[in-house]
């Protein structure tokens, strides 16, 4: 996307242009439909005038056939036009959804910065949908213009004064209704917000049900809810009353307008300047006109929403990358030595750190922020403010970020599990095997992470689904599956962060041993304060105040470093 920042307007224009043919077809067909709709009351007037009043059976037949033809046309044009419009809306939403997704998943990252996942998912669904709906709204606008034009021509042909009254009066009528209804509408919106709170409160109490039961506090909760519900009810009633009055107001205005047309039309008809049928048609057209005019109001609201949504999509798409992206290839084979020099980022204050190739290194911190900052540098989620990070002597920013992640894998503490079987989560890049059975490397990795025990306790073994975000697994089970995945990936350099915090002490000790054996001979950095894990490392580094404070084996540090003792042995 070029040098100019992508705007919401660009997103809208591209989205509509991408569906130009469907939009054009939909608009054309919709105009035919409107023409038909406008003709129905006209034809009813004609039938009354020529056939009923003239007592002419032949004309009756002719005009009923015409009416049938009009109905066939309006029905089919509506069907085909609306289908084209809806298809255009859906397709452009789908295209936008994928564009947002691609941006979020881009190897250089950055799109999630400051946005919650739910918010981004909302942009990809709701906002994409609203921008897609703009195609439909534009078409509806075109239809409404056509409908108004047709009625205007028909009315003016019948009688210029009556036509003008209807054409000028209808917008005034709608405007009046809008103006008078506005205070009511505003009030109603505020009240509805308040009313929605009761629903939220109920959901909240149900979500905290176990906590309430644990305290025996249900009675207090019920009483509190009843109060909230009553307050909410009062607000809802005020809102509903406001809305009822608005409905009544619009009805009264419309009725008054019809009376006006009847008065003027009747007088014109008595003058002989208007035929009887034309009078009936005029009343029918006045009622019909309200439809397209209301559509205008709706189109306006849709466009406003579409513009806002397009702006949000543009913002996501135009977000700058979080890290500079090089395109150099990772030197092969990877020896796996990491070297940090004078790295500054957040809590890191000029960190110099060497992670030797082929060894298991432990890293303990006095401040968790140090660990976070270090991991985001190594995982290329962020670049350090200053200083350098090198893999086998090559600075990371020069390397292609996606390729680098194949060589240096950062297994985050809060990494995600995806909906699917345990086996599919441990080896996500493999085609999911039939029946969910795990292949041999997966089995080995799971054994090392003690995830085999998890699998044994699940109803369908490794083929058991983990649910969205792994919610069917307990915290300890999830961590073991996460670790198994990191081990299964088998990168030359593996950085693991706090892999056992939710695991009981017995299992933790076993996992520590499994991890050490599995990674033997390959570079591994374990960032943790857990003594069980640190005890199996070759060497431990303690970070304090953003720098290396002590180095040595776990046993040495426990003996010699009070800072280490207090950080690790809570």
């Amino acid at each position: 996307m070029g040098a100019r920042e992508l705007s919401g307007r660009d997103v809208l224009v591209r989205s509509v242009r991408g569906q130009a043919r469907r939009c054009a077809a939909g608009a054309a067909l919709g105009c035919v439909h409107q023409l038909g709709e406008a003709l129905v009351p006209v034809l009813v007037g004609v039938v009354v005038d020529q056939a009923v009043a003239g007592r002419d059976g032949g004309r009756l037949t002719v005009w009923l056939v015409v009416l049938a033809v009009v109905y066939v046309c309006l029905s089919w044009s509506f069907r085909l036009g609306a289908k084209a419009g809806e298809r255009a809306a859906e397709e452009s939403a789908h295209t936008l959804r994928l564009a947002v997704l691609r941006r979020v998943l881009d190897a250089r990252g950055g799109a999630e910065e400051g946005r919650l996942p739910g918010e981004l998912a909302n942009v990809a669904t709701e906002d994409a949908k609203r921008v897609g709906a703009v195609a439909m709204a534009l078409m509806s606008g075109a239809w409404a213009v056509a409908g108004i034009t047709v009625s205007a021509v028909a009315l003016l042909v019948m009688s210029v004064p009556l036509g003008l009254i209807v054409l000028l009066g209808t917008p005034v009528l709608l405007w009046l209704g809008h103006l008078l209804g506005k205070p009511l509408e505003r009030r109603s919106e505020a009240e509805q917000d308040r009313a929605a709170q009761a629903a939220g409160a109920a959901a909240d109490l149900v979500a905290g049900l176990r906590v309430l039961k644990g305290l025996g506090a249900q009675q207090a909760a019920v009483e509190r809810y009843r109060r909230a519900s009553r307050v909410s009810l009062a607000a809802t009633l005020r809102a509903a009353r406001a809305q009822s009055w608005q409905t009544g107001l619009v009805l009264a205005l419309t009725g008054g307008f019809i009376a006006l047309i009847a008065l003027v039309g009747g007088r014109l008809a008595l003058d002989g300047s208007l035929s009887l049928g034309q009078l009936v048609s005029a009343v029918g057209l006045a009622l019909f006109l309200l439809g397209p005019l209301e559509t205008f109001a709706w189109v306006n609201a849709e466009l406003a929403q579409g513009r806002a949504s397009a702006g949000r999509i543009a913002q996501v798409l135009a977000t700058g990358p979080a890290v500079a992206g090089g395109d150099e290839q990772v030197p092969s084979p990877v020896r796996g030595e990491l070297r940090l020099r004078d790295v500054r980022l957040d809590a890191l204050a000029g960190l110099d750190l060497d992670v030797p190739a082929g060894r298991l290194t432990g890293l303990a911190v006095t401040d968790p922020a140090c660990a976070e900052a270090l991991l985001s540098c190594l995982g290329r989620e962020r670049d350090p403010e200053s200083g350098s990070v090198e893999l086998d002597g090559v600075p990371l920013p020069r390397l292609d970020p996606a390729q680098l992640r194949g060589a240096v894998l950062v297994a985050a503490h809060d990494a995600a599990l995806f909906d699917g079987s345990v086996a599919a989560n441990v080896a996500p890049w493999e085609e999911e095997p039939a029946g969910g059975a795990a292949d041999a490397p997966t089995v080995r990795a799971m054994a090392a992470a003690h995830a085999d025990e998890v699998v044994r306790s699940l109803p369908h073994g490794a083929a058991t689904g983990v649910g969205e975000g792994g919610r069917y697994l307990s915290g300890g089970q999830r961590q073991r599956v996460l670790l198994a995945r990191a081990l299964r990936a088998g990168p030359p350099v593996l950085v693991v962060h706090d892999p056992t915090t939710a695991v009981d002490a017995v299992t933790e000790a076993a996992i520590a041993a499994g991890l050490r054996d599995f990674r033997r001979g390959r570079t591994t950095l374990v960032v943790t304060n857990s003594p069980a894990l640190l005890a199996v490392t070759d060497r431990v580094v303690l970070l304090d105040a953003g720098r290396v404070a002590a180095e040595g084996t776990h046993a040495d540090l426990v003996r010699t470093s009070p800072a280490y003792r207090s950080a690790v042995l809570a």
Binding site: P117, A133, L209, G255
Partner: protein, 634 residues
């Protein structure tokens, strides 16, 4: 005029068609072995609704009477227009137009006023009944035994309280008044046609079989299709959340291609189902057009015949034609709303199902706190969630009043199950659990339970705490917060204890939420406490703060602590090691260390070289597998 009230045919807006019912709430996972909460039968649902409506009979009568009046008055419009046509046909003086026009204006004013009043009354009725139902639902939901809820899955109840309540509320606000108005319009218009001439009514009814058949055909096809569409939309949303929520992981493991494929597939599936829904709706409208034409043509033919035979004036025929044109809007509205009404009815049945579920009455707050002796005794307790897969085997355990016992063991050793039995959430399959000599009750009993599940109740922080003790003074709250070390940050919140926290308010970190849970425990002041929290990460500074907070919350109480960190075990009076549902070791921390068994191995591994003083060994190389090895299950 509603957006649907276009004189002929359906609204052109795509946004107004009924198929767009985005329901992003993921449907509860379809789990075969779940026993969902019940859904009420239609008869039972009607009975409950009748019962809820009964106290408001006055409103019902007044609301419907006003609406009938409003609609009836509105129907004078067409005869008045017809009269104007007759005046024109008869070439009478322009003054003859005056009274019908004044009549039209009067009709408009009265109709507007009556509609406003009628709709207000109807919404008062609907909203009041809905509020009562909502309250009954929450009351019953909170009283249901947890065991029952766990069988149903946690999603079931929360889906009902969010999705079903909002569906019913939407219907009460939108569909109910609209359906009432449309229904009355249709019935009264048909009546008015009959008043003009009964033959007009017959002519208009030509459309009815087509409409009825169309409606039935539509409902049969639409209900399952929309259910599928909702599931597909939910799946698409879920897939997006799954992928976007795990974007860092996707990048780290370079899974972009696979995830883009997944999202594309789920989005495509949702798009195609939406389009199927669109096609269905459009076919539905196509058939309605046929009905409209048939009815309109037959009314016009009837008018022609009646005028020719002199049985009706041209004005009457005009009025009949206008009546019929006026029917298009209400008929379309009613048919379109059938869909909403149907989904609301289904939601209503699910709400009534819960309201009807038997549940023990809610205990009065703190009623059963008085307890003879705060001891806990388990004798020969066995338990299995699934028959044939026992989790506990013949456990014997006695906790003396004021004693603190820590439970240690691997995941799946039965710690949490044991805790739940003591808290009375489950009944043991065999053996006996006694708290103060009596079987524990699920709630309101002598046992306070703090679980791994942290929940901060939405609303002011003080209100959250007062759930535990509604009559607590401001000072009580401060004392409780101070005791768990939370007063500092609580007072530093923008509005202190009045700060709105929880969903929709300020989010609290898990550590703080857990402190809050302990503060609530202090306020509730139960003599026996079961603590099963695992929020703090071992080794983190949060763990120390929480250990201290728990220390104070447990002071002077009989406590069973599920130890997620060995520091919790070390602080207990006694440690019980569970393995595979059996008690493996039981003794004080020091005694078990000295004994050199499973617990000692565990402790050494956990504490690294900081072995207890008697042991001279420096950093024991970590035991490869200090776990008491369990025999393979099953």
């Amino acid at each position: 005029m509603t957006p649907y009230d276009t004189p002929a045919g359906p609204p052109p807006q795509g946004g107004g068609t009924p198929h767009t019912a985005p329901d992003t709430a993921p449907d509860a996972a379809p789990d075969a072995d779940r026993a969902l909460l019940p859904t009420a039968t239609p008869a039972r649902t009607r009975a409950v609704v009748r019962q809820l409506v009964r106290p408001h009979r006055g409103l019902v009568v007044a609301g419907f009477a006003t609406m009938v009046l409003a609609t009836g008055v509105g129907l004078l419009t067409q005869p008045l227009l017809g009269h104007i046509v007759d005046v024109v046909t008869a070439h009478r003086s322009p003054d003859a137009l005056t009274w019908p026009v004044v009549g039209l204006a009067g009709v408009a004013a009265v109709q507007g006023l009556m509609t406003a009043v009628g709709l207000s009354l109807l919404s008062r009725l609907g909203e009041t009944v809905l509020a009562r139902l909502r309250e009954l639902f929450v009351e019953r939901a909170l009283a249901l035994p947890l065991e029952r809820l766990e069988q149903a899955g946690s999603g079931d109840l929360s889906a009902r309280v969010t999705r079903d309540v909002s569906r019913v509320a939407d219907a009460v606000r939108g569909a109910l008044p609209e359906l009432t108005r449309s229904g009355l319009s249709i019935v009264l218009t048909l009546g008015a046609l009959a008043l003009l001439d009964w033959r007009f009514l017959l002519a208009a009814l030509v459309a009815v079989p087509v409409q009825a058949h169309t409606a039935r055909w539509y409902m049969t096809n639409a209900v399952p299709l929309y259910a599928r569409e909702r599931i597909a939309t939910g799946a698409q949303q879920q897939q997006l959340l799954d992928t976007i929520g795990g974007a860092r992981t996707v990048r780290a493991y370079r899974l972009q291609d696979g995830h883009t494929r997944r999202v594309t597939a789920s989005s495509r599936a949702a798009v195609e189902l939406t389009m199927r829904g669109v096609r269905l709706v459009l076919r539905f409208y196509g058939r309605l057009h046929i009905a409209e034409y048939a009815g309109l043509a037959s009314v016009l033919v009837t008018g022609f015949l009646l005028v020719r035979s002199g049985a009706a004036s041209v004005g009457t025929a005009t009025a009949a034609a206008l009546y019929f044109l006026g029917l298009f809007g209400p008929v379309n509205t009613a048919l379109v709303l059938l869909d909403d009404a149907q989904s609301a009815t289904a939601g209503l049945a699910r709400l009534v199902g819960v309201v009807d579920e038997p549940a023990p009455p809610l205990p009065a707050q703190g009623a059963a706190r008085a307890l003879g002796e705060a001891s806990v005794t388990l004798s020969g307790v066995s338990h299995a969630y699934v028959p044939g897969r026992p989790v506990l085997h013949g456990v014997d355990l006695h906790v003396r009043p004021g004693e603190r016992v820590a439970l240690v063991g691997t995941t799946g050793a039965g710690k949490t199950t044991l805790a739940k039995l003591v808290a009375g959430l489950h009944q043991p399959a065999a053996g006996r659990v006694a708290v103060g000599g009596a079987p524990p009750k699920e709630s309101g009993g002598a046992v306070g339970l703090v679980t791994q599940e942290v929940h901060v109740f939405a609303g002011p922080l003080a209100d959250d705490l007062r759930l535990a003790r509604p009559d607590a003074s401001e000072q009580d709250l401060r004392d409780a917060l101070a005791a768990v070390g939370a007063l500092g940050w609580a007072e530093a919140l923008p509005e202190g204890l009045d700060t709105v926290v929880g969903s929709g308010g300020r989010a609290l970190t898990p550590d703080r939420a857990q402190q809050l849970a302990l503060a609530r425990l202090l306020l509730a002041d139960p003599p026996v406490v079961v603590l099963d929290e695992a929020t703090a990460e071992a080794g983190s500074s949060g763990a120390r703060v929480l250990d201290e907070a728990a220390e104070r919350a447990l002071h002077g109480r009989t406590a069973l602590v599920v130890a997620h960190r060995l520091s919790q075990a070390a602080a207990a009076d006694r440690v019980v090691v569970l393995s595979d549902g059996r008690v493996l070791e039981d003794g004080t921390h020091d005694r078990l260390l000295a004994a050199g068994g499973a617990y000692a191995a565990l402790w050494h591994a956990w504490s690294g070289s900081r072995s207890p003083d008697p042991s001279p060994a420096p950093a024991p190389s970590p035991a490869p597998s200090p776990a008491p090895r369990e025999p393979a299950r099953d």
